[in-house]
């Protein structure tokens, strides 16, 4: 069986390699991909949308439908992860484990306490116990605000530099995941609860589709941001630039919340009480 698969892989790989010989040269202006609509985008993007980064303009304006349904796909992935993994039964084993902050003594509680001990003296820790590392925790605590600021910059500056909703959303989500990895899942859940992630991923998709529907309500085509000009008191070219910004915000929100949602469910076996 292994030999057959190897032979198949070698055969298919050889076919692919032979096919690449027919490819147009890298960066060839006469290649079929560069002669159809690309020249129009390159010539007209600046005067039609006032967005210097053509990639962003094509993604969020000229090909707005694609990006909307990509966001819907990300949202669907998050919902699928939630439906497959989320479970309500408690984890077997000791009910709660606490660490005395000053001495490092570990206390096991057989039954769930009626009242949580004060966080200053006793801190709850995970069952699969990992050493308490002050350096990792504090370095990550210092880094996370800057990572989040960079994520917001990537979303908002997508018009002028590489970036946009997807990348910025992933960076924002990764900052929360870093918090969950370096501290614990409970801390991250305290910052961004399960309800918040679910709501934000849905609201992100809703913002995108809502901007499109608003264009429809203003008497234009779906996702034709020019129609939003009178609402925002700007000219149509500026309205397209702003419309791109709004949908990028929606994409960023949805992607960030979905990344955190998927990580939480994966890392805690769907129980959302303690993670890696």
């Amino acid at each position: 069986m292994k030999l057959i698969s190897l032979a198949l892989v070698v055969l298919l790989g050889g076919l692919f390699m032979a096919a690449t010989a027919d490819f147009p040269d890298w960066g060839d202006p006469a290649s079929p991909a560069s002669v159809h609509v690309s020249p129009r985008y390159i010539e007209k993007t600046m005067e039609e949308t006032s967005v210097p980064n053509i990639v962003t303009a094509v993604l969020a304006d000229y090909r707005g439908y694609d990006t909307m349904f990509e966001t819907a796909v990300v949202f669907t992935a998050g919902v699928a992860c939630f439906l497959l993994l989320r479970r309500r039964d408690p984890r077997p084993g000791p009910e709660r484990i606490y660490r005395h902050q000053a001495t490092g003594v570990i206390v096991e509680m057989r039954h769930k306490p009626a009242k949580e001990p004060a966080g200053e003296v006793f801190a709850r820790i995970d069952d699969d116990w990992v050493p308490h590392d002050l350096i990792i925790m504090n370095v990550c605590r210092l880094l996370i605000p800057f990572i989040q600021l960079f994520g917001l910059y990537v979303i908002a500056h997508g018009h002028h530099s590489p970036g946009g909703g997807f990348q910025g959303g992933v960076i924002l989500g990764a900052s929360i995941i870093l918090l969950a990895l370096s501290w614990d899942l409970r801390t991250a859940m305290g910052r961004l609860s399960e309800a918040a992630t679910g709501l934000m991923s849905a609201v992100g998709v809703f913002i995108y589709a809502g901007v499109g529907a608003m264009c429809l309500a203003m008497g234009s085509n779906f996702l034709d941001y020019e129609a939003l000009g009178p609402l925002m008191f700007v000219d149509p070219v500026h309205a397209r630039s702003l419309g791109i910004f709004f949908v990028e915000l929606g994409v960023g929100l949805a992607v960030m919340a979905t990344m955190v949602l998927i990580y939480k469910n994966l890392a805690s076996e769907g129980r959302l009480d303690q993670g890696l």
Binding site: W26, G27, N53, V55, T56, V154, P162, G163, G164, F166, Q167, V170, I171, G173, A174, I177, L181, M259, I262, Y263, L266, A267, E269, G275, L276
Partner: protein, 81 residues
């Protein structure tokens, strides 16, 4: 494009891809796959597709490696075949 750098990165991509398939330890395979994504990101950047490179770096090398690791730690660490 400097062809020496291009060749070195391409060879490393192939090595990482084969390594990620061949390694029995799934944590090692995840890390190798992250390295593969990062080298692909370098290739995209060299070819001038900076937006794609950015996406590859954040999604491919960053978040998906973490997802793979989380899944590996919650299932089994050794691959059967």
């Amino acid at each position: 494009m400097i062809w020496q750098i291009d060749l070195a990165v391409l060879v490393l991509v192939v090595i990482c891809a084969i390594g990620a398939l061949a390694v029995k330890d799934l944590v090692g395979a995840s890390i190798l796959f992250g390295a593969y994504s990062f080298l692909m990101c370098i290739l995209w950047a060299v070819m001038g597709a900076v937006d794609v490179a950015f996406t590859e770096a954040s999604v491919g090398a960053g978040v998906s490696t973490v997802f793979f690791l989380a899944a590996v730690f919650r299932t089994s660490r050794r691959s059967k075949d």
